[in-house]
Symmetry: C2
C-alpha cells in the first residue's frame, strides 16, 4: 500500500509558490490548484483547509529562516569567526530563498500568535541567550567595542536580511535587473563580515 507522494508534494510546491508570492490573504485555493495542475477539491482531500495548508508552508519557511541562525550561533567558535560564518551561511540561505523574509515578516505581523506557537519546543531563546553571553564576554574582555548584545544581533540580521526584503524596491531605485541584483548580493557576501568586524574593532591603546 504505497502512498502516492507525488500529488501531495506537487500541492506543497504549488502552495509554497502561491502563498509566498501573494501571502495568506491574497492567495486563492484555485491558484494553488492551477499551479499544481489538479482539481481544487484535491487540496481539501489532502489538506483539510486553506489554513492547514498555509500553516505547513509558514512553518517550513520560518524553520528555514530561524534554524540557520540557531545552528551557527550555537556552536563553539570564536566571536569574529562566528559573525563571518553567520553572514556567509545566512546570505546563502537567503540567496536561494529571496522572498522568504518578507513573507514570514508579513505573516507574523498579521498574526503574531503564529510565531509564538512556533517557538515552543524549538529552544531558540536559550540558544540566543548563550550567544548574548559570548558577545558580552567579548565586550568585557575588550575584544570588541562596547555594544549591547541584542543591538549587535539585530545589526547582523538587518544587514543580511533587509536587501532581500527590499529587493523589488532596490531593483527599481538602483535600476538593476535580476543579474545585476545577484552581483550586488555576491559583492555583499564578501564585504559584509569585514564591515561588521570593523565597526566592532576596539580602539588601540
Amino acid at each position: 500500500m504505497e502512498k502516492d507522494i507525488s500529488t501531495e508534494q506537487r500541492i506543497i510546491d504549488a502552495a509554497r509558490k502561491v502563498f509566498i508570492q501573494k501571502g495568506m490573504s491574497g492567495a486563492r485555493m484555485q491558484d494553488i490548484a492551477d499551479e499544481a495542475g489538479i482539481n481544487k477539491a484535491l487540496l481539501h482531500y489532502y489538506f483539510r483547509s486553506k489554513d492547514k495548508l498555509f500553516q505547513i508552508i509558514f512553518r517550513e519557511a520560518a524553520e528555514k529562516l530561524l534554524v540557520t541562525v540557531k545552528d551557527i550561533t550555537g556552536n563553539e567558535t570564536p566571536l569574529d569567526e562566528k559573525i563571518t560564518a553567520l553572514c556567509n551561511r545566512y546570505m546563502d540561505v537567503l540567496s536561494e530563498n529571496p522572498y522568504l523574509p518578507l513573507f514570514v515578516l508579513h505573516e507574523i505581523h498579521q498574526d503574531p500568535g503564529r510565531i509564538i506557537n512556533f517557538f515552543k519546543g524549538k529552544n531558540m531563546v536559550p540558544q540566543l541567550q548563550k550567544f548574548f553571553l559570548q558577545i558580552q564576554d567579548a565586550v568585557d574582555n575588550k575584544q570588541i567595542k562596547p555594544i549591547s548584545p541584542p543591538q549587535l544581533v539585530i545589526n547582523i540580521i538587518s544587514l543580511c536580511v533587509f536587501p532581500f526584503a527590499a529587493s523589488p524596491l532596490m531593483q527599481t531605485l538602483f535600476d538593476l535587473d535580476t543579474w545585476q541584483f545577484n552581483l550586488f548580493i555576491e559583492e555583499r557576501k564578501k564585504k559584509l563580515p569585514e564591515f561588521i568586524l570593523a565597526a566592532l574593532k576596539p580602539e588601540k591603546k
Copy 2:
C-alpha cells in the same frame, strides 16, 4: 458651500489604519467603514473603488518613507554628519510610523509597478546619484574605508528600517513588551551612527 472635509478625512484615517494593518488583499471595505463609523456606500461615494482608496494610502506611505531620505541626502553637509542626521531623522519618522516599512515593502512585492509609477516626477534617482558621488569622493580622499556607495546606502537603510519591519518577531524572540521595545529603539538611535562611522573609519597610517 463649505465642503464637509471631516467625513472624507475620517475615511482616509480609517483606511490608513486598516490597510496598513491588513494589507490590500486582507483589508475589507466593511472594516474601513466600521472603523470610520459610516456606511460602506459612503466609501464608494467619496473614493470610487477600493483600489483608488488604496492608492491614496500607499502613495502617502511611500512618500513618507522615501522623501525623508531624499531630503537629508540632498543637502550639502559633510558625509559623516549626513549619515548621523539620516539615522536620527529616519528613525524618528519610523518611530512614529513603525508599520509603514513592512506595509510598503509587502505591497511593492505584490505589484512592483506601483513604485515605478510613484518614482516618476519625484526625482529620487538623481538625488541618490549625487549622494553616491559624495560617498565615492570620501572613499577616493581616504576619509572612509573603500566601500561601494550602493552597499553603504543599503547598510544604513537596513540598520534603520529592519528593526521596525521585524518588530513583532523581535518582541517575541527577545520577550519585549511595547515599552521595552521602545527603549531598544531609543538606545539604537543613540548608538547606530557611531556604529556605522566606526565601520567606515580608515586605518591609521
